[in-house]
Symmetry: C2
Subunit: 308 residues, 2 copies
């Protein structure tokens, strides 16, 4: 059984969308990644930090999904990272209302002993120095290292980010971030430049417009499922990444053809995430639902044409 | 051999993009539709109007593609419709600099006798009353009627537009126009509402993000080919529509499965159109190039997953 290590935030979110508003609920990149990857039955563990205010029931819920939380440090006299945001009517743009780093400000990640030998490593969106610190604690290079990041780190920690990007196999970023990172408007050219920065595989997430997977001359496109309603986009990108690495870890096959399937599963799982507030949908998602939606993805994209 | 009738503008365009700028060159919806459909070897004819200033060489070029131009009325003492625009750096938005309707202002379309019995009818973007006048001249309903339109007609001729939309099988519009026409933000819901206005098939063009084909509960997605460079997007939507109806006419099969192939061909041909200014690429496009690009579309979208 492959071991998957996930590094990222475990947090409180307060979310407002045109459909409603939440109090502080469970959030964080590692949370969404872990829940999504748990669909594939892999043995996974999270490295993160929370405060004494973090409810034990959340940890228990993660454990119930076969996610090891021994790497989530609890700072008893600290407070858990808190983010709040408000989505605009189109749900594609949002304003951040609050970012309280709290215990995250001084986070020194420690990989638990039982995950030092992980086969797959997912570096969720975090300070690039934290991502690097995790890489450095793992003596034998994992089979696949995937990094997610965002424009904030490009604006503020460029040099550290470039260093860690150079160490990974796969980077997942959104289209605007790919443009910022590469200085190229065309996503094809952006991927070419990002390849040169290190990653052999570049996944560009385009939200409701799907995702592109680049590997040199090879390109694959996974659409987003057209939905009647997007309720809350929070965590969709992390859920995509979790589906991607969860599928890769469960199959233990890092070929390009298998990565195609992995981005389809990433898009599949993200399409569930946005159906309810926060992690609610992901906590209650069954394998049957995922399989049925896979059938929808096939119908959405597969066609037969004889080449003449 | 199926007969395809195309109604739409034949025009002069002057285009400015970040890559350069043209004088008055050949343009117009019917021109792009005709050139695109000509790839499929169907017998097609254009109904349109031009002025005495329209070069005969353009008509001859169209004739050389097996496009009948006897339905293009020439008003000797009139001037050809002229549009000029300037694209912004992202090439997704543009400013219209000039729209001189000229001979188009009093256009009374006349379907030539040899196309009264057309099997396929493409109503290119034009005043909805002109589109309706063409439908009314055809005594036996064609096998498939496709309509393209734009926000301008929604703003200015709503009632006439709704009437003609009710008469067609397929509507092709872009995402913003689908939202405007339906009052729904979700494209799934927009398509549902537009179905109720008449068309059994709704094609929503999303430019660089591909196109969606809706037929009741069935949805299919054709991606746009990721390109290193988009040189000039003018005519891409018309080229898409021309590829769609050209393929449908050449196969004479109006099933949903065949429409999937038709939107793939639409996207395929549009990906060529944007590679050069104006109609240049479409005038010099070979069947081999189209077939090779079809292979790229397969690689871009096809995947194998066993459903459990």
């Amino acid at each position: 059984m492959a071991k998957l290590l996930i590094v990222g935030t475990v947090a409180f979110d307060a979310i407002e969308t045109p459909f409603g508003k939440t109090d502080k609920i469970l959030g964080g990149a590692a949370t969404y990644i872990g829940l999504s990857a748990s669909q594939f039955g892999v043995e996974s563990g999270i490295v993160s930090v929370v405060g004494g205010d973090f409810p034990e029931e959340y940890l228990k819920m993660l454990n119930s999904k076969n996610i090891d939380t021994s790497g989530i440090e609890i700072i008893e006299n600290g407070k858990t990272f808190f983010w709040s945001g408000k989505y605009h009517n189109d749900l594609n743009t949002r304003d951040t209302l609050t970012t309280d780093l709290n215990v995250l400000a001084d986070f020194n990640p420690v990989v638990p002993k039982n995950f030092i030998d992980c086969d797959f490593l997912m570096l969720g969106n975090l300070h690039p120095s934290v991502q690097m610190a995790v890489i450095e604690q793992i003596p034998v290079r994992p089979k696949l290292v995937v990094l997610d990041t965002m424009n904030f780190w490009m604006d503020n920690t460029w040099d550290e980010l470039i260093k860690v990007i150079n160490k990974v196999d796969v980077i997942t970023i959104n289209d605007e971030e790919a443009r910022q990172l590469s200085g190229e408007y065309s996503l094809v050219r952006a991927a070419q430049k990002i390849h040169k920065m290190g990653p052999n595989y570049v996944v560009i997430k385009k939200g409701e417009h799907g995702a592109l997977l680049f590997n040199g001359e090879n390109v694959f496109f996974a659409p987003a499922l057209p939905l009647e309603e997007v309720f809350d986009p929070t965590g969709a990108g992390d859920t995509f990444a979790g589906g991607f690495i969860g599928y890769m870890a469960s199959t233990h096959d890092i070929s390009f053809n298998n990565m195609k399937r992995a981005v389809i599963f990433g898009s599949n799982l993200a399409s569930f995430c946005v159906e309810k507030f926060g992690t609610e949908r992901m906590e209650n998602l069954s394998k049957v639902e995922v399989q049925n939606r896979l059938q929808q993805f096939k119908q959405l994209t597969q066609f037969e044409i004889e080449l003449s």
